[in-house]
């Protein structure tokens, strides 16, 4: 079970959260202006990143807030969580969680 840092509440276990898919995909302001191809792109196309991935979580059994997170899909380690609307942190500026190497 993952430990997730809610930007509003702090460290909480994964069972308090629900997953919300890829982050930073804004709904088009006027969907009717899009052709089918562009609409399908928004509706269905998601990246399947191996490595650092920006994704949405909701602290559904806590404060109820949606927020964004950067998670490494190969290790499940979070390098950052941040509030909706805030820009995605630069990966290079992040501190990788400490592991004690043997």
């Amino acid at each position: 079970m993952l430990v997730i840092v809610c930007p509003y509440c702090g460290k909480r276990p994964e069972i308090e959260f629900s997953y919300g898919g890829q982050a930073h995909i804004a709904r088009p302001s006027q969907p009717v202006d899009l052709d089918d191809q562009a609409w399908a792109e928004f509706l269905y196309m998601r990246s399947n990143t191996k490595g650092l991935y920006a994704e949405r979580w909701r602290h559904s059994h806590g404060c109820g807030r949606f927020f964004n997170a950067l998670r490494d899909t190969t290790t499940d380690h979070f390098t950052a969580t941040y509030k909706t609307g805030e820009p995605q942190p630069e990966a290079a500026a992040l501190r990788v969680p400490a592991t004690v190497t043997p």
């Binding site: 430990v3 006027q30 009717v32 609409w39 509706l43 499940d76 592991t99 004690v100």
Partner: protein, 1001 residues
């Protein structure tokens, strides 16, 4: 005392003899024995029959890696546990154990015929054999295979025991209580860390328990162990968990531990928890899981009496049991010599030591020579003989040219083997750490960690007591959290006297002569996988170890290949002529050893399996004999049978009462969301397909929610109770997901709107009063409130009081009759219900349940989202196209609904069905086809979504989705069923009062 017991020494208590039964015979052991050591002390090696060939099998190991000794331990009819490893079953007085996978007896098993027919059962036998005839699979093959598969039998009675569960947090979790683990725990505790130390065995000490001569820091190793444990136990920040298996290592240092609390007790206290599941979150983890001795692969290596050298030494030194009277040691490393020396000293004849290496010059081989033991270097094994116990071994010699020459046959009753060690990297691998091949160890070792974790001791490739202790101290000190600015600690060092270790090891099958016996050489004992199976798999083109594993099932038994994986890998690598790291390694999965379902379930059984939601009116329904049904987590009254009625009779009576007089229905489970704020109307405009701007205060509307893909997601009546306040209802099961969807758009897309969302599902009790007399019933209870047709028309909403209780009254109908839904605060729900029922009795008021509600709404063609829709239906498909707000430029789903395929006339559309025979009730889910008498494959036009017998109409009714259905009104279609085609006529979905005259009164 049996002649196989040593007169003294070991960890058993010779003053406490215990009686136990094995396959019906009574034997004696001692306190401190495992079932394995007690059987061996009685001269019993044969403990099971193998999985596939039913070959006689003996005890191979002394720990949890044991692949052969799987037994059933029976306490009573309900407490019969199969497939327990004989090496992990602690002896108690009166223990009853039974062997498995044999008939009629362990000594004489007719299944042995499989061994003689084995050339008909090669790897992939199932895949190759049971292909045809197709019909035989279900009736012949599957039942036979199911009967033959598996080893023990699962108990049939419910588990009567209690299983506890706990969460724990610590700074350092140390897995494994051998020397390295104890050292790590000591070092971490010294640094002030909160420590948990767990070990799967009954006693801490690990390898030290079988190392009586070793000395640590100047005292006997066992004295050091005892002193260390006293120190740890006395530290309030340390928790010691014996008999506790760390079975799973999950992300973010979350580990599952299974503690066995009563398995070792003759008389567990009544009600005591049998096992405890620990879910531990550790800041840092130290894995000190040791190493497992590697067996050797040679023909006939599976006879009872052939076991690992280290296991024999453990039985001797820890349990005071000599595994035999005449032993041959086959080894590829120095460590195993200690077993021969110890057995020799205990009086077991060591007939020969066959060393696979061309030369053996270490201190231990020298000691063996000095003790006068016969030592053969450059040796190999050609065969063994013996039926239920090994009787002799045929040794060969590998010449300098690599050719194998037969050497001699040596009589013996035990063969001890050692191919070096496999570090136990299972948990490390589960943590997603990368394994690295070590040519020195001829094994995989922990490489780069993925978690805050480090390995110590033998599982880290650090062999030998002194090095393991130092590694443990260093790991424990490094794992403990350092206060900021603190200088790095100098780890403790141990001074040790113990037998030296070598890194020598052997991998793969032993060299064998072309003339060697044709007996099988086993790689995986538990799944009966031989060298030939692996060779066959590679010959048939399998290259990836993952494929070879699944094809041959090597390493896929309950022991997960603890003893077999590396040998299998080496054989595949050699056959393919590639280096081992290039072949790769299969994944280690949890659980490390089989873990009981009871432990995972804990208290979540029976009534506690799932939370059960009950309405405020539940107790009334119980008192009035309701039959209940689960609806999502709710339990709802399904019908109220009277005087021995069955469901159909009760539902028919309830439906008639609603249509003719009035009914009362508990609708409290409806999802309710309060949408409030200056942006509330606009919020609903953007979300729902309907338009809300012009909905007046005190009015409501049937709302439909689609997802962004245009498919119906939920529905419900939405009332405007103030200019900035909406009372939104949802389906019973849909409330949480609708609120989550609303929150998603509110928080992440439409932050410009001022809106608050509050779930009020459980704050309101909802009492539906439906039927021609409904208004007259309520009029007597609502004081001056005018609920007449003019003041409160259909879909109007008004605040008032009922029996003095604040009320939000909806004039709505899900039955097609004049109807009201009385919303009152939940705490008043029961009192108001009882008052309405009392007032309604003179009018013939009848309580009705969800079943009658379904029939009544189906008669009116009202859909249930999730029953009549399935996540691929647009509003128009469901006949709800009229609800779409035409003037809105956007709403969730609008753009998708504009795609050409979403408006195609051939889409499946909701229609009604009438069977030609009015009594025939179609099956929900039944398919619809064009014409009668077709043979599969047929073109399917759609399916039945709702189907009931309508007592009011006197015939059956059904709703269905049918391709181009609305253009087919009047057509006859067929419902093909096992009993023949059922002709049905396509009708409009409204069967009763199509003009709605009965609602608008």
């Amino acid at each position: 005392m049996s002649s196989l017991r040593t007169p003294g020494g070991g960890r058993i208590d010779r003053a406490k003899p215990l009686s136990f039964r094995w396959d019906g015979q009574t034997y004696t052991g001692f306190a401190g024995d495992t079932l394995a050591s007690a059987l061996l002390a009685n001269g019993i090696h044969l403990v099971g029959r193998s999985f596939k060939y039913h070959r006689p099998r003996g005890i191979l190991a002394a720990g949890s890696e044991e692949p052969n000794g799987l037994v059933t331990v029976k306490r009573d009819a309900a407490r019969e546990t199969p497939n327990l490893r004989v090496t992990q079953v602690e002896l108690y007085d009166g223990l009853e154990a039974i062997s498995q996978n044999r008939w009629p007896s362990l000594q004489k098993d007719y299944g042995r015929i499989n061994d003689l027919l084995s050339r008909f059962f090669p790897a992939g036998f199932y895949y190759k054999t049971f292909m045809w005839p197709k019909a035989a699979w279900k009736r012949v093959y599957e039942p036979v295979i199911r009967r033959a598969a598996g080893l023990g039998e699962a108990p049939t009675l419910p588990d009567p025991d209690r299983y506890a569960q706990r969460y724990a947090h610590c700074d350092v979790l140390v897995v494994g209580g051998g020397p390295a683990g104890i050292a790590a725990a000591l070092a971490a505790a010294d640094a002030g860390a909160r420590v948990i130390l767990c070990d799967e065995q009954s006693e801490f000490g690990g390898s030290l328990l079988a190392e009586p001569a070793a000395r640590i820091d100047g005292e006997p190793a066992l004295a050091w162990t005892a002193r260390s444990l006293v120190a740890l136990a006395g530290n309030p920040r340390v928790r010691l968990l014996p008999r506790t298996t760390a079975f799973g290592y999950f992300p973010h240092n979350f580990l599952g531990l299974n503690e066995r609390l009563t398995e070792h007790l003759a008389q567990p206290a009544p009600g005591a928890a049998r096992e405890r599941l620990w879910q531990v979150r550790a800041r840092a983890v130290v894995l000190a899981t040791g190493a497992i001795e590697r067996p050797l692969v040679f023909p006939g290596n599976d006879r009872p009496g052939i076991l690992l050298a280290g296991a024999a030494r453990t039985y001797l030194n820890r349990y005071g049991v000599k595994v035999g009277t005449s032993a041959v040691l086959v080894t590829a490393d120095d460590a195993a010599y200690q077993a021969a020396l110890d057995l020799h000293a205990a009086g077991t004849r060591v007939a020969a030591i066959a060393d696979l290496r061309p030369a053996a010059d270490g201190a231990l081989p020298a000691a063996a020579r000095a003790a006068g033991l016969k030592l053969i270097t450059g040796a190999t094994v050609l065969a063994t003989e013996g039926d239920l116990r090994v009787e002799s071994i045929d040794l060969g010699r590998v010449g300098t040219d690599g050719k194998v020459q037969p050497l001699e046959r040596i009589a013996c009753d035990v063969v001890l083997m050692s191919g070096g060690f496999n570090p136990s990297v299972h948990l490390y691998s589960q943590s997603r750490g990368k394994l690295a091949w070590s040519e020195t160890h001829k094994a995989f070792l922990p490489g780069v960690s993925a978690e805050c974790e480090r390995s110590a001791g033998a599982c880290h490739g650090v062999y030998g007591l002194a090095a393991a202790l130092d590694d443990g101290y260093a790991a424990g000190a490094a794992a403990a959290p350092l206060p900021p600015e603190a200088p790095p600690r100098q780890p403790r060092r141990a001074s040790v006297e113990a037998p030296p270790m070598s890194f020598d090891a052997y991998l793969g099958a032993l060299p064998s002569a072309p003339t060697a016996a044709k007996d099988k050489a086993f790689v995986d004992w538990q799944h009966d996988v031989t060298t030939r199976d692996l060779a066959l798999a590679t010959r048939e083109g399998f290259r990836s170890i993952e494929h070879v594993k699944r094809y041959t099932t090597t390493g896929m038994a309950t022991d997960q290949g603890k003893t077999s994986n590396l040998n299998a890998l080496a054989i595949v690598a050699e056959t393919l002529n590639v280096p081992i790291p290039q072949v790769g390694l299969t994944s280690f999965r949890m659980p490390y050893t089989p873990t009981s379902f009871g432990s995972f379930a804990g208290a979540s059984r029976g009534d506690l399996f799932d939370p059960l939601r009950k309405t405020p009116i539940h107790s009334w329904a119980v008192a009035h004999g309701a039959v209940f049904e689960p609806v999502s987590l709710w339990t709802r009254a399904r019908y109220f049978p009277q005087g021995g009625e069955d469901m159909h009779a009760a539902v028919a009576r309830e439906c008639r009462a609603v249509r003719e007089h009035c009914g009362i229905f508990d609708a409290s489970t409806l999802g309710k969301i309060e949408v409030v704020g200056g942006g509330a109307a606009e919020f609903l405009n953007r979300l729902y397909i309907n338009s809300w701007t012009y909905l007046g205060v005190g009015r409501s509307r049937y709302g439909i929610l689609t997802r962004e893909d245009g498919f119906v997601y939920d529905d419900g009546v939405v009332a405007r109770t103030a200019p900035d306040r909406f009372h939104v209802t949802t389906t019973t099961g849909g409330a949480p997901r609708v609120l989550a969807m609303m929150e998603d758009y509110r928080q992440t897309e439409w932050t410009d709107l001022e809106v608050w969302l509050t779930s009020t599902t459980e704050q309101w009790a909802v009492i539906a009063v439906q039927g021609p007399e409904a208004r007259r019933v309520l009029e007597s209870l609502v004081g001056d409130l005018d609920i007449g047709a003019a003041a409160l028309p259909h879909m109007a909403v008004v605040r008032g009081r009922i029996c003095g209780v604040p009320m939000l009254l909806f004039r709505v109908s899900f039955t097609g009759e004049l109807g009201f839904e009385v919303n009152v605060p939940a705490d008043y729900g029961l009192a108001v219900w009882e008052a309405i029922y009392a007032a309604g009795r003179p009018f013939g008021m009848t309580p009705y349940g969800t079943e009658a509600m379904h029939v009544l709404r189906a008669e009116k063609g009202y859909i249930i989202v999730g029953q009549d829709t399935d996540g691929t239906m647009t509003p128009d498909d469901a006949g709800l196209g009229w609800a779409v707000g035409k003037s809105k430029s956007d709403f969730v789903g609008k753009r998708s609904l504009q795609r050409a395929s979403m408006t195609a006339p051939t889409r499946k559309q909701l229609v009604g069905l009438r069977t030609r025979d009015p009594k025939t009730v179609l099956e929900e889910g039944a398919q619809l086809v064009e014409s009668p008498g077709q043979k599969p494959p047929m073109r399917l036009l759609g399916h039945v979504t709702s189907s009931y017998f309508s007592a009011v109409l006197g015939h059956s009714i059904a709703l269905a989705v049918v391709a181009g259905g609305r253009a087919r009104l009047g057509q006859t279609l067929q419902v093909p069923m096992p009993g023949g085609d059922i002709p049905v006529e396509v009708t409009a979905p409204v069967f009763y009062d199509p003009t709605g005259a009965r609602i608008n009164v």
